[in-house]
Symmetry: D2
Subunit: 174 residues, 4 copies
């Protein structure tokens, strides 16, 4: 398996922020076209669209998902519901892991734990995930969720997740 | 603190299934009016309404939330997204715990862990939560999530959660 | 894979309590000799011996480990340390899962979560584990830990764990 | 509560490595004498002594515990048992949190999750914990566990834990 830098995705997709080379170099990429494969999978997730979530950053071993505030996403105190934090952090972990999987594979969340650190009271919610251990079958990932209010970021949740690679099973086949 | 049976909620709400008396008797109820208090809180959760989720059962220490399938709730393989399982299981745990809290209190999820057991491939998704340890400040809860397809239930996820009681803070005050 | 009943283990090992047939029948057993294989693995765990832990019950998909109180196993309040609860619950989950794995396989803990429910203040500590989902590669297990004091059991911890089967890798090879 | 820098502990205790000022400044210290209070509590943990564990570093919001390899600490493949990783990471999280608690308080682990990343095959095992969110009642902590073999560190486990402060309850009173 040859280690390559992540290729930029096509022009009509949002350009990811650049990560320092040191972090990118940590992981072996099995599929140089991972970005389009991951984005196609993300775009098939009905829930991400319904929540208004966007995949705003994607590099090898990293993914960031952001969702703007809407009253439809709240818990009883009018903050983002923990379920929204959980959903975008789970998808971010899954896709961070999926960047490192082979072309002909499917991605599955085995489990995740979410600790809520502060009320998710803000104008948008951002989950930044990264792979911390990339095994062949299992990838262990973390995600940090921040909410932004009046230009200030608050760390409101953190996730520790186990993601599984199902080889030889296309992500398209349900 | 006097232990009382749960009162039935108002007529225009779905009647909860009866739980065996043995299970109801396990917990001390601090607020005989817990059912209306919990349902009002549930109804203020924008996300539950947006997902189409209903609080279909509520007794002391137990809560069940159900959501019918919609394409808006899916992951890339057209099953329920794990984020939906997480969101309804989290709310079910929180409200199972909230049934046991005093009138003038607010409920907060500290953390939860969700293990996914099988694809959530079905016509509806149901999270049944119960309190397994009711401390004054912290309540430890579990939830099991089942999906129903062609009349058959499949156990698709299980949650272990820590819920916190914030005394003297009304649930209404954001 | 043929489903068989668990065979009794050899006479010089402690006889397991009988489980109801209904529960035993839930899982397919790939290795009729699982009991001796599991006990040999348990006996190679230096930590279990050092803690004074015994594998007191073993049937298909279930394992129970017990440890008597000693001052060497305490936290600062002279109760069992949570690390002891974690260690025996982890081993119990691993061996409950290992009963269902093929002869030529090795067992690995992927992750576990432990919720502490009450002080582990007692004369002995018992972790009872069972498999709740038996996939080919991953087995999801729960364990409940009770402490016994003056003849009364207290539920002091609960674990939710993910256990992995490594096929074709003998448990003996380090 | 006044924010103060951590005071050095007494001379007969191991000197902690210096942390960058930026990290120390993140947390408000309620008890300038936290180091001796924490070390006295650690020394009362029978299990830590029995495992051969030492508290090798302690600053405000951080604690590091190390244990040398012994055959008594192994699982069936002769690596450190996951229970040892769990025990020292749990104590490290608890004591990282306890540095930030008031004099007259006691510390309690609510729950922890441990993900195992690689075999703990080495000459020693080190758990480094830090507080990532310091609430009045609950402190959320992470710990990373490394094993050292032939001069090389391997990241073998990571923990995410919830620690509780019990105010007005001395740590000495069992």
């Amino acid at each position: 398996m040859k280690k390559r830098a992540a290729r930029p995705q096509s022009k009509n997709e949002e350009s990811p922020k650049e990560r320092p080379a040191k972090k990118q170099a940590r992981f072996a990429v099995a599929d140089a076209e991972f970005a389009s494969r991951v984005r196609q999978s993300f775009n098939r997730q009905g829930l991400m669209k319904y929540l208004g979530a966007e995949l705003v950053e994607l590099t090898a071993g990293h993914a960031t998902i952001r969702v703007p505030f809407r009253a439809e996403l709240t818990q009883q105190h009018n903050y983002f519901h923990a379920g929204v934090s959980g959903a975008i952090a789970d998808s971010a972990c899954g896709y961070a892991a999926y960047t490192l999987m082979p072309t002909d594979s499917s991605v599955l969340t085995v489990e995740y734990k979410l600790n809520l650190l502060a009320p998710a009271d803000g104008e948008e919610l951002t989950a930044r995930a990264r792979v911390i251990r990339s095994g062949r079958t299992l990838k262990i990932c973390t995600a940090d969720v921040h909410t932004r209010k009046n230009g200030k970021d608050v760390h409101c949740a953190t996730m520790l997740a186990t993601i599984m690679c199902l080889p030889g099973k296309s992500d398209r086949a349900g």
